[in-house]
Amino acid sequence: MTATHLDPQSLIGKALPTFTATAERGRLRFFAKAIGEVDPVYTDVAAARVAGYGDLPVPPTFFYSLELGRPDPHGFLRDIGVDMRQILHGEEGFTYHRVVVAGEELTFRPRIVDYYEKKGGALRFLVRETQVFAAQELVAELRNVIVVRQLELV
C-alpha cells in the first residue's frame, strides 16, 4: 500500500460535526458489567443518590463511548483514506469539570487540533479535542490521539 500523505493545513483546526448524546442507565449498567465494576454507585440509582449523585454517574472513560456514538463515527477517517485496520489508539485524555449523570443531554464539539507524521509517513498521528457541554456548561474535555500505520492489508 502506498503512503498517503495528508495536508496538515487542511486538517489542523478542522471542526468535525457537533452532535448530542445521552448516557442511558441501561447502557451504563452494561458498561459496568463489561469492565467488572462492582461498586453499586455505578449500577444502582439509590446507591448513586446516597453517594451524592442525581442519577448513575457517567464513569471516567465513558465519554469516549458517547463520542463513538456519533453519526458515522469513522466517516472523517474514511474520507481521508484511512482503513480502520490501520488505526492504533495512541493516547486518550479527559478533563472533568463536574460529574455527569445518566439522562443528561450532552453536546459534543470535536475538532482536529494537530496532525504530524513520523518515520517518513509510516506513522501518522491525528489529535482530536472535544468539548462536552450540558446546556451551556462545559462539563468535560476529551483529547484523543490515533496513530495510522502503513499495513500490508490482504
Binding site: 458489567k33 463489561a34 469492565i35 461498586d39 453517594a51 485496520r85 490501520q86
Partner: protein, 140 residues
C-alpha cells in the same frame, strides 16, 4: 469532599488485579463501549491485517485504571485522567493496575495529587502508562 490527610507523595493505591481477558470479555466490552472495531473481536479481520489474533481494546484497560481511581476516591474528586497506550494486551493477558502519588500541590484553591498510573501484564510488559489528578480537599 473528604479531606485526605493520609495521602502524600509516595502513597500507593491498592493494586487492582484483573482476571485473564478472554474473548467473551472483549465481545462484551465491544458492545458496551460502542467500539465495534472488528480487529478486537473477529480473528479473520485480525489476520487480514497481519496479526495472529485479536487483541484487547486499549480503552478496556483504561476503564480498569478508572476503577482503580474511583474505588480509591469518589469520582467527584477526579479532575483529569490521561493514558498513553504503550503495548497491546493480547487475549488471555492478565492486567494489573497500579498507581502512586507523585506530587501534591495546591491548584485553583484546592490540594491536588498527581497520580502516576500503570497497567502491566503478568510478564511485566507495561501496556498503559497514565496520569490522573485528584482533589484532596480545600487548600490549607
Amino acid at each position: 469532599m473528604s479531606a485526605s490527610p493520609s495521602i502524600d507523595v509516595g502513597t500507593e493505591l491498592a493494586p487492582l488485579e484483573l482476571p485473564p481477558l478472554n474473548r467473551t470479555t472483549l465481545a462484551l466490552f465491544a458492545g458496551a463501549s460502542g467500539d465495534h472495531n472488528p480487529i478486537h473481536i473477529d480473528i479473520d479481520v485480525a489476520r487480514s491485517a497481519g496479526l495472529d489474533d485479536v487483541f484487547a481494546h486499549g480503552m478496556l484497560s483504561t476503564a480498569y485504571l478508572g476503577r482503580l481511581l474511583t474505588r480509591w476516591l469518589p469520582q467527584q474528586q477526579l479532575r483529569s485522567f490521561q493514558v498513553r497506550f504503550v503495548a497491546i494486551t493480547p487475549v488471555h493477558g492478565q492486567p494489573t493496575c497500579t498507581g502512586r502519588v507523585a506530587e501534591v500541590a495546591e491548584v485553583d484553591g484546592e490540594r491536588r495529587a498527581k497520580i502516576e498510573l500503570e497497567a502491566r501484564l503478568a510478564d511485566g510488559t507495561v501496556t498503559l502508562s497514565g496520569v490522573a489528578t485528584v482533589a484532596l480537599g480545600a487548600a490549607r
